[in-house]
Every structure is written in structure tokens, then in C-alpha cells.
Symmetry: C2
Subunit: 110 residues, 2 copies
Amino acid sequence: MGISKTEIFTDQQNEIAVFAKAFGHPARVAILQHLFKIDTCVCGDLVNEIGLAQPTISQHLKELKNLGLIQGSVEGTRVCYCINPENWTKMKQILSNFLNQDVSIKNDCC
Amino acid sequence: MGISKTEIFTDQQNEIAVFAKAFGHPARVAILQHLFKIDTCVCGDLVNEIGLAQPTISQHLKELKNLGLIQGSVEGTRVCYCINPENWTKMKQILSNFLNQDVSIKNDCC
DNA sequence: TTACTTCATTGCAATATTACGATGAATGAC
DNA sequence: GTCATTCATCGTAATATTGCAATGAAGTAA
């Protein structure tokens, strides 16, 4: 049906999935990498940096903003974006907990 | 168009996106968590454990298997799945590199 | 053999995502 | 005021994803 049955999963599982989905597109990965590389707010040049049309970039930025991973502020005609450090750290911990659960895989299986 | 323009991004960016997408659905998160919890191969009871229909689970398992994150072996009428430790570690390093790039965010922005 | 179990595959419907042209809103320059 | 710039939003088309019923394939049990 194209709709995920989120109600049968735990809040934690849904939260992991929502954050992971944010990185599930290379454009959003590229946007975040660029914001980290510049290490301050980026004003306007994201469309040139990434190779997609302006409405498409705007849409990806909106998704990242809705998740709280980035924040933007208006500077005249431009809008400046940067990482939201608190929320990035929060997200990182949630995903790291999931990724680091590989305690002890028995090799007497499969 | 529903199709991602992967050709304009680096291999690394596409790789991050592909792995992240694997966790972008709570059912796949739940499957992986269960495999880790059981800590050995799981034979058959995934449909009862997760609350989705059998073809749906089979489809999610196929995606995880195609990415190499899990592996399966036939045991009679049953099929047993477990985490692929090598590929899980590989994936974890790729995603961790991305998540851990928060070196120094200047707070004189935004 | 038949019946049963387990899982994969097919086919389909509903929803989501991606991308962009066109347009609008807000600001700055003049 | 006009004009240009920048970014958001709307509308739409194409593709992807999710979910399940029906069916198929392969094994076990009798």
C-alpha cells in the first residue's frame, strides 16, 4: 500500500527508521556533508554545490529541517542553514545504539 | 519523478544512502533487532515476532539479504536467518564515519 | 502417493518519494 | 515606485515503496 504500519512497532523502532530515512537519499547526505565541511552556516550556494534544481534542494532542506537536524535563518534575501548540534547529537546516539548492538554473534549458525 | 539522480553524487554518498535506506523502515529495524537479541539464526518465527504478513516479511528479508546485512540458509522446510557480521561491521563503519563528522560547529552562525 | 508446512514469488492497489517548471513572497538595489 | 535576486510553495509526472492475497516451489510426514 506504500504506507508503513508504524503502529505495530515501538516508538524507538519508528524513531530509528525516521532518522535513517533522512540519510536515505544521497542529496541529503551531500547537503549534510557540505554543511559540516563549511563548518558554519551556508547561505545560498547549496543549489550550485549539489546538482539539483532549486525546488528539489528546497524540498530536501525542508525534510532535514522538520527533523530538526538543520536550522535556517533568513539573512536578507538569502536563507542560511547549518547543523543543529543538539539534535544531531541526539540522533547520532539513537542510531549508534542501534548500530553498535553487535555484541557477540555466534558463528555456529547459518 | 520518484527516481534519485544517483549519478551526480559520489559513490560514498550513494553508499551511505543505500545503507541508511535499509534502516528506513521500522519492520527492518525490528527484524535486525530480533536477530541480534536472539544472537543466533532465527528459523521461521519472524512472521509471528513482527506483525506483518508473510510475503511482506519475506520482502524485507530479501532487501536486507541483497545488501548483505543478513544471510540465510535452508534447514528443511524452514529458512534460518542471521546477521552477517563482516558486512554489518563494514556498514557500521561507513555510517559511523558519516555520523561522527561533528568536529566543531561554530556557534556564531544562524 | 496425498496432505501439510514453510517460505519465495507474482500481481496488484494504495501511498510515498523524487524531481522540476511555474509561480509567489520577501527583501535589497535603484 | 520598478526590477532583480533568493528561496518557498504549488502542481504535476514519473518512479519507488509498502502491503497482502493468491500462487508456486520444496521439503516433511503419513
